[in-house]
């Protein structure tokens, strides 16, 4: 790849890396959105985030093994199953954590436990080996744009991600519950005293966080290939990178973070492929140390 000397060719490769990076990045924006919501609203660090993505992926896999070759049913199932699960799970966990002496640390550890449980259950049910979800769109011919071929599966995943992200924004900025949610993000105690039912709103956000993770899971075979029960941890770390690049606790940041992550990953894969696996970690560490509050952040971190 690096031996081409024609400048036009080089430019087109650069262009390809940027466009595919954006498609990739939009998917990762969705993938990490829930992590950000949970931290912003509840100061919860969901270390099981990637495992909920994995759960979504296996829900799609079950649908696929029953002969459904498009992701739509999987998406619908995830909304029902993870939405319900999230809403119910919040009540034994959430109030206890947010009322504890150190919600951040304790939730980190607690969700680590949840991640172990989900991983173990998935291995018991689906075994240890990677499985493929052969959506129909994966066999469609690549789309040509300015002489470069793009995978339709990526375009579909990016498209659905944008729709879901927009829906979450619609909720946050154009519904009454969304106003309440943002009020809680601003100041939890204050909003409690103004009569907002903090726990009900939190439960909804918790459910929303799991649902968006699960939806990304359904889409994941389109972007990252085969799925396996232990895929969660890597995704969690990537999601953290995306979220921290954007800024933890600020949902808007997820999109920016996703795009930066996607584009830098694709550029690395194009030009320095042996080191590209390090991208999320290096980005994460750099942003943490240079700008601990993220690119859009404002004083999230306590001294």
């Amino acid at each position: 790849m690096q031996t081409f000397r024609v400048e036009g060719r080089l430019l087109r490769i650069l262009f390809y890396a940027i466009i595919s990076g954006m498609l990739f990045g939009l998917f990762f924006a969705l993938m990490s959105l829930g992590l950000n919501l949970l931290f912003g609203v509840m100061r919860m660090v969901n270390l099981a985030h990637g495992d909920f993505v994995m759960v979504g992926a296996f829900i799609a896999y079950v649908a696929y093994t029953h002969g459904i070759l498009s992701p739509w049913l999987g998406l619908a199932l995830v909304i029902v199953i993870l939405g319900g699960l999230g809403f119910v799970l919040y009540f034994p966990i959430g109030p206890r954590l947010t009322g504890s002496y150190d919600p951040e640390m304790l939730s980190l550890i607690l969700f680590f436990g949840v991640s172990q449980i989900l991983e173990a259950l998935a291995v018991m049910v689906f075994g240890n080996n990677p499985v493929a979800v052969g959506y129909h769109v994966l066999t469609v011919k690549p789309v040509n744009l300015l002489g470069q071929a793009y995978q339709p599966s990526w375009i579909l995943a990016a498209g659905v991600s944008v729709i879901v992200i927009l829906a979450v924004y619609g909720y946050l900025y154009h519904t009454r519950l969304g106003y309440a949610t943002r009020a809680i993000m601003g100041d939890r105690e204050e909003s409690e005293s103004t009569g907002i039912n903090v726990h009900r709103v939190s439960a909804i956000v918790f459910a929303l966080g799991l649902v968006t993770a699960g939806l990304a899971g359904v889409l994941s075979p389109l972007v990252i290939g085969s799925i396996y029960p232990t895929m969660g941890l890597g995704l969690t770390i990537t999601a953290f990178a995306v979220v921290i690049i954007g800024s933890l606790g600020n949902p808007l940041g997820s999109i920016l973070g996703g795009l930066i992550y996607g584009i830098s990953l694709m550029l690395m894969e194009t030009y320095l492929s042996t080191w590209s696996t390090m991208v999320p970690y290096v980005l994460l560490l750099l942003i943490l140390l240079l700008r601990p509050t993220g690119l859009l952040g404002k004083g999230v971190r306590r001294a």
């Binding site: 980190l108 436990g113 173990a120 018991m124 770390i237 953290f240 390090m278 560490l285 306590r302």
Partner: protein, 309 residues
Amino acid sequence: MPKIARSLWMNGFIGVVLLVVFGVAPGFYANTSILFQMMMYIVLAQGVNVLYGFTGYLPFGYVGFFGAGAYGASLAIQMGHLPGSVAMGVGAMVSVVLGLVLLPLLRLAGAYFAIGSMAAAEIVYYVVSNPALDKVTNGPYGIQLVQSYHPVESYAFMVGALGLVTLGVMILRHSRIGMALLALREDSVSAAMIGINVVTARAGVWLASALVAGLAGAIFAWHTSVFYPTTVFDLNISVFAIVFTLFGGAGTVLGPTVGVVVLFGLYNVIGISSPQYFQLLFGVLIVTLVLFLPNGVVSLLRRRGWDVP
């Protein structure tokens, strides 16, 4: 003061019991590999204990130091042709150097530190295992230390490390430095105001815990003699050390020891043959712990008014 003296005695007792048990056990119990790993995890758990219990930093990337120690010692043996015993010191020092490089992490708090340290460990792993470095580290293909293989001597070294680390935590727990660290953990402003140097104190603990993990990694490399980067940079090593510590109770000498003996024992009973069942149990245990017993099982004793060493 008599109260402190008594629990100091208790601590000494724990240390002696540990040394005797692990020193004599190979004579009665053939599976030294389990004994060795149990000691290794006690050492690692005490390292986490010092860092988390006394400063509040939760190091998800603790394994980075372990791996750095393993590779540092291995390269000292392979390329420097040093004897195993000397290479152990090199491994520990490599880990301390990594700790120095990572000092800026201490600016981060809470979850940011936990995640940041994990990212740092992953970066070290990707550098060490990168095919581009196969001339130095042999990339993803790992290390073979045939020439220095010495299971008995390396076992003895781990017993020694166990003794040293337990002694260190004992001293820390009953010294003014330990008290100063607890004060610092609780309220860094007030601690600074009474003359405790916040930066030095935190950095000191960080480097000490790096040294401990590096030493454990170095001895592990020596003892195992054949390993891959995925073995010594396995995030599960951090995770085990952290969960064992939290299960027993951070900030005590007894807690991490109890945590390792119980949980790692359990792991060896059911975890080897069917790891997913152990993992499930592990997960349920952690969730239960956070929700109902956030200070570990030794806090049950404390609630009954016992003075837990």
